[in-house]
Symmetry: C2
Subunit: 243 residues, 2 copies
DNA sequence: CGGCGTCCTTAACTTTTGTTGGAACCGGGC
DNA sequence: GCCCGGTTCCAACAAAAGTTAAGGACGCCG
């Protein structure tokens, strides 16, 4: 079958994480997708907008965020190739948050019409996508815990490990290092702290020889300490479909 | 049709929030539900358990939470009659958080088998439930923002208003006051602060004449100040199905 | 009705985090 | 090579939140 690069990461992810059947894979391969390039730091969909497409990340990094009245911004999640961060807009038509690129990105747009049709035709695919939005919610739950309860160094380590575990699924971890293209300002927005405090925390874990963070790349120096610091239990990622 | 009290709050909520059809309502009325009583402060399902049922709150209040290694607990959401807090376990079989009662509660258990069958039979119902889990996720997103970015008095007010707006749907708001059966310890766990700080914050909003909180009941004294403090925009609750 | 346990309340003190402002660094464009 | 804008980094100080400890209110149960 014709399996183009656009869908490769998505199918790879679904195969590992959702145990997709070959029929379902074919259905997904047949989905019409319109590909478009975006520069870094650009809004893809904005809070309040009405969406008629959902967006597959083909290449690059994205983030979801909300901005409150005072102007403070909270990053809700990071997204990598193979993910469809705004699948929820299929049923929640008006966006309640922003989706934007972190890096230059190539995105594939899938119309809600076509997704709906596919669901009617193939309930199995519908379940896979439903499950995907449920995992999304599970990640939000863990993010709440991170921001609400963990000491700031643990927050940083936790976000890093979550990202790494997801990057592994698509084969994007290179030994002990991986991409995490955020500025310290953005790291602060993800962890619920200011950028200067983010800087303090990064400095601290660096000095303790646990992890290096440089120009959007994480390098783990002491895996044991890193894990211990992060208090990470990957069960919430629900990466095993059989469970 | 036989519309018993068990399903009343659920149907009321779905009618307002999801625009359910009469056929779908009949399907839901026909769902077998096993009702059980629970005392206050009791686990219904625990983190790590494998669920074969989902649980409809018929009466009483529940909360979802996660506990980290250090023993700290984060409350993720509050739940009221008519909601199915663990609908997600339909596809994410092993729980990644706890569901427990806050008050004495009567809960109705719906087997995953019956839910699956209903979805196959009636895709419209499946979409309604899917939408419901997506709203759940939207509430988590807002909860992240609350804990991550808002000053603590605003956090408190925001959680209160969210609860109130949801209680309105099932007709459980009595003028300017409504139930919120949490101890100050639990409020702290919801807001990501300690119980003594929760006490400070409650004292402050009380002294400013904004809101009273007493033995699990909220009484709003100054609605304007309350709204302003909370920075509340209910769009994320997606209570209008047409949008 | 007295005692016990839970929750609420507060104070004093410590630690964490935010704020402000500025210096050093770094990469890209000219 | 050099300037420019955005990061990164840092220090000094201020504010917010955590910790510990203890007294008081309140309801429940014996």
């Amino acid at each position: 079958m014709h399996s183009d690069a656009t869908r490769a990461a998505l199918l790879r992810r679904l195969r590992v994480s959702a145990g997709i059947s070959e029929d379902d894979a074919r259905e997904i391969e047949a989905l019409p997708i319109v590909v478009r390039q975006f520069p870094a730091e650009t809004a893809v969909v904005r809070d309040g907008e009405r969406a008629t497409n959902s967006c597959l990340i083909v290449d690059g990094f994205c983030a979801r965020s909300k901005t409150i009245a005072s102007g403070k911004r909270q990053i809700l999640s990071l997204h990598i190739p193979g993910e469809i961060p705004d699948l929820m807009s299929l049923f929640l038509h008006v966006m309640d948050h922003d989706l934007s690129t972190l890096t230059p990105a190539t995105l594939g747009f899938i119309s809600h019409d076509n997704l709906q049709k596919l669901h009617r035709r193939s309930p199995g695919v519908a379940e896979i996508f439903w499950r995907d939005t449920l995992i999304d919610a599970a990640m939000f739950r863990e993010w709440i815990v991170n921001v609400g309860q963990r000491p700031t160094p643990a927050r940083l380590a936790h976000v890093m490990i979550e990202l790494r575990e997801r990057l592994k699924l698509i084969g994007a971890v290179d030994g002990n290092s991986f991409e995490m293209p955020l500025t310290q300002e953005q790291i602060g927005e993800a962890l619920g702290i200011t950028s200067v405090h983010a800087n303090r925390v990064i400095k601290q874990v660096r000095q303790e020889g646990i992890v290096e963070f440089n120009r959007g790349r994480v390098t783990v120096l002491d895996e044991r300490k890193f894990q211990e610091l992060a208090d990470f239990d990957g069960r919430y990622l629900h990466q095993s479909p059989t469970l």
